[in-house]
């Protein structure tokens, strides 16, 4: 430890942390100071290096350079065990729960109480009941994780950390999967933890949450710290500037829409999710050509199932999907494509691209048996290559080499390939899911502009996004989904984020208006 610096009032100090991944400098000499007993936010866009930083604090990955001090003492954290013994606990963005095991089994895993050679289940159960009472986190210790709702699973994660005696809690994007109500409950829990002397590090990119609950903030951008401020002395706007490095364009340049005929109509749609529970419950909506209809909502409210039902990947229990005046409810994905339904999927690496195919093969995915590219038996390789060279130029895919494999492109360029492909086959309707997730600001702008220009060419667009800002800046109409139903339809110019937020939490628009 430096002789002249006293870190003892800090629960966590990370000094000069540097971490390289192949091709990326994920953390570049990052400093982090977290006082004992405070709630400290780390904010930044996707890819800013927040999770990487915390993974090093928790010993999941090792820093290339830099030092960590816990309660003023330099700590060697080589693996999660070291972190646990330093009383650090982490709640990961993707829950680290074993689905098939019970709550008790998940919580005590790694630190199981034993009686002789056996695992002492009853003692574990009692300890957990005591813990949940103490911190107001009520769960049934014998439930199996896969049968529990997401909010409950998160509670299990927090108890898991407390069970290990954590004094320092790291929460990675804890609200991403929660409704506003669940978020409020979480905040109450965090405040109560704080009042019992725990230190909390809270990773997020939602600035209103930072303003609501934290005391100080570290802002990161592209692997570097761009600001450290007290929450009381800053504003969302200032934080946003530090996050993106320039004024945020809250609105995309666009003219008003000129919607044409109705091309998509969904009537009383019911769709089940994998476990057989109804995820879409009697939903109706329509899309006209030349307009963007945005679907706002918290993740997990039936968006995925709705998209899959519309593109033909999931069975429809009841209700109808009418496209261009034709009932397509039972049509295959292929038939729907042929009729002019394009799709930008939510998970581009899983659904949008074939990583081990060259770019020119990826450009014809879904169109490979079109007469342009195939004579029915053989592929017209030369034509496919010419077509691909063209698209690469038009959409500025970099590097512009069509023989490169999909996996050798950056996320933004992969998304460009998908968007280019979907536009190139001249669709009448485009189902767009989370089009900018994980992209950098430049790529986001490009995608947004492309979607607007598609709209202006008369394509109908159904935009499903968890980013409220994106919904507001692109949509001509906004529908809010909650538990598989539409809570209400509003126009962005006549509503507020608060109103949509309330609908996202399950309030119907007509109820809101009655109350007002």
């Amino acid at each position: 430890m430096d002789k002249n610096v006293d870190y003892s009032k800090y629960a966590v100090v990370m000094k000069g942390i540097t971490k390289r991944f192949p091709g990326v400098l994920a953390n570049d000499r990052v400093d982090l100071f977290v006082k004992k007993g405070e709630i400290h936010a780390i904010v930044g866009e996707n890819g800013a290096g927040k999770t990487t930083l915390m993974s090093q604090l928790y010993g999941l990955i090792k820093p290339d350079d830099g030092k960590i001090y816990i309660n003023g003492v330099e700590a060697q954290i080589n693996d999660p065990n070291d972190a646990i013994s330093a009383k650090i606990g982490m709640v990961h963005q993707h829950f680290m729960l074993v689905d098939r095991l019970s709550v008790v089994e998940n919580i005590v895993l790694g630190q199981e109480p034993v009686r002789g050679p056996f695992f002492a289940l009853n003692r574990a159960r009692k300890e957990i009941k005591d813990l949940s009472k103490k911190f107001g986190l009520i769960v049934d210790p014998d439930s199996i994780i896969e049968d529990m709702p997401v909010g409950m699973q998160q509670r299990v994660e927090i108890i898991k950390v407390l069970y290990r005696g954590a004094e320092i809690l790291v929460l990675d994007e804890p609200t991403a999967v929660l409704t506003p109500q669940e978020t409020n409950e979480l905040f109450e829990v965090l405040k109560s933890l704080k009042s019992q002397g725990k230190t909390i590090i809270f990773i997020t990119h939602k600035l209103n949450e930072v303003m609501a609950i934290t005391e100080s903030v570290t802002v990161m951008r592209l692997g570097k710290v761009t600001g450290v401020v007290k929450t009381s002395q800053t504003s969302s706007k200032e934080l946003a500037n530090m996050m993106v490095g320039r004024e945020v364009l809250l609105t995309v340049e666009k003219n008003s829409a000129h919607p044409g005929d109705e091309i998509l109509q969904v009537k009383d749609l019911v769709v089940k999710e994998n476990r057989g529970i109804e995820a879409v419950r009697g939903l109706s909506l329509n899309v006209r050509s030349g307009e963007i209809v945005g679907i706002a909502g918290v993740a997990g409210n039936g968006q995925t199932e709705l998209t899959e039902a519309m593109t033909g990947l999931r069975k429809v229990e009841s209700g109808k999907i009418i496209f261009k005046g034709q009932d397509i409810t039972g049509f295959s994905p292929k038939k729907r494509r042929e009729m002019g339904m394009g799709h930008i999927p939510e998970d581009r690496l899983k659904h949008g691209l074939i990583k081990t195919f060259p770019i020119y093969y990826n450009f014809i995915l879904g169109e490979h048996d079109d007469p342009k590219f195939s004579d029915g038996v053989f592929l017209k390789i030369e034509d496919i290559r010419k077509f691909s060279e063209n698209l690469v130029k038009r959409f500025d895919v970099r590097p512009p080499k069509i023989d490169l494999l999909g996996m050798n492109l950056s996320g933004g360029n992969q998304q460009k390939v998908i968007v280019a492909r979907e536009i190139a086959f001249d669709p009448a309707l485009m189902i767009v899911s989370q089009p900018t997730r994980g992209l950098d600001v430049g790529a986001i702008e490009f995608i947004h502009k492309t979607l607007i220009s598609m709209r202006d060419k008369g394509i109908g667009i159904l935009l499903i996004s968890m980013e409220l800002e994106e919904i507001f800046s692109l949509s001509d109409r906004i529908l809010t989904i909650y538990e598989g139903q539409i809570m209400g339809e509003v126009r962005p110019e006549n509503t507020t984020t608060e109103e949509v937020g309330l609908m996202m939490a399950g309030h119907r628009l007509e109820d809101l208006h009655q109350e007002a």
Binding site: Y58, L60, I61, D79, P80, N81, I84, M90, H92, F95, M96, L97, V98, D99, R100, L101, E105, N106, V108, L109, G110, Q111, E112, V114, P117, F118, F119, K160
Partner: protein, 319 residues
């Protein structure tokens, strides 16, 4: 029709059928338990067949050189553990495709046993007769009608098999190590974040699978026969794999399925010898395929449902 009913009654009232069911099931139970151990921790082990073969050969080899079948058993299980360790090393450390690695081990076992057979005993086909593990003689209990015939003179392997199932079930469901095994097989990342050493737990599971599968193999050679013959496991490792799946990756379930398969074989053998039916020899093949067809029906989800551990067969590679 009447003669069929008569023949089936004959089989089921004959204690030999029940004894035969036990002895036919024993190697399957042990190998299937081995499969459960490996796959519970998330490593697919289709090499059970090869491991059994090595266990069988090691048993005879040890007994041949020392004159003591128990040393044979030790050598057989050592061979099995060594094979499993190789599979574990490839699958866990190098993230190998576990099915390809398993295929390689099956071939290696066939090659090594065939090679060593010629080198040590001078001719292909079968080894000399060696001393086998003595049966458990219950003395005057043998005189008790029916059950005396079944249990009076069984190989200790039969008792070991059932004891191993109890041991396996308690270990997996009632101990801290078992909890870790199940967690590592379903979500290794989660276990890792809690400080559970995923690799060590998986090594343990795979090596135990080698131990039990080799025990099952050793039973075939030094359990009763006292001889090794080329490829003597004859697909039992694959049947054990099927029993593990039908038993839903649970030691007791795997044991039940093994008993079912063992019973089917015993039934087939007994039925062939029923003179009232006067069966032509090729009907044995019709009955012989029954266990395999049952397995196809079960894995096809046409009856019942079995569910593998979520991370079964998926290598866990940090970073």
């Amino acid at each position: 029709m009447n003669e069929w009913i008569q023949a089936i009654i004959n089989v089921f009232t004959n204690p030999t059928f029940y004894k035969s069911t036990l002895t036919q099931s024993t190697p399957l139970i042990l190998a299937a338990l081995g499969g459960v151990f490996s796959e519970t921790t998330g490593v697919v082990n289709i090499a059970l067949e090869g491991i059994m073969l090595m266990g069988a050969f090691g048993g005879v080899m040890g007994s041949y050189f020392t004159g003591n079948p128990w040393y044979g058993l030790a050598l057989g299980t050592f061979f099995g553990v060594a094979m499993a360790a190789l599979h574990a090393w490839a699958s866990i450390k190098y993230g190998a495709d576990q099915i390809i690695s398993g295929t390689a081990l099956i071939l290696l076992a066939q090659g090594i046993t065939g090679f060593a057979l010629v080198e040590l005993f001078g001719q292909p086909g079968s080894t000399d007769l060696v001393r086998s593990i003595p049966l458990v003689d219950l003395g005057s209990f043998k005189q008790v009608p029916f059950v005396g015939v079944i249990f009076g003179n069984l190989s200790p392997f039969v008792y070991i098999a059932f004891a191993s199932v109890a041991f396996g079930w308690i270990l997996i469901y009632k101990t801290k190590l078992g909890l870790r095994m199940r967690s590592v097989g379903n979500n290794p990342e989660a276990a890792d974040t809690l400080g559970v050493n995923v690799y060590n737990v998986r090594y343990f599971g795979v090596i135990m699978s080698g131990f039990f599968a080799a025990l099952g193999g050793a039973y075939l050679s030094i359990g009763e026969l006292g001889q090794f013959t080329t490829n003597m496991t004859n697909g039992r490792g694959f049947i054990a794999l099927a029993a593990m799946i039908i038993g839903n990756w649970n030691p007791v379930g795997a044991m039940s399925a093994s008993l079912l398969f063992g019973g089917a074989t015993a039934f087939n053998n007994q039925l062939q010898s029923q003179s009232v039916l006067n069966l032509s020899t090729n009907t044995q093949y019709i009955f012989g395929m029954i266990p395999y067809i049952i397995t196809l029906i079960v894995v096809g989800g046409l009856i019942g449902k079995s569910r593998a551990p979520s991370a079964d067969g998926v290598p866990y590679i940090k970073e």
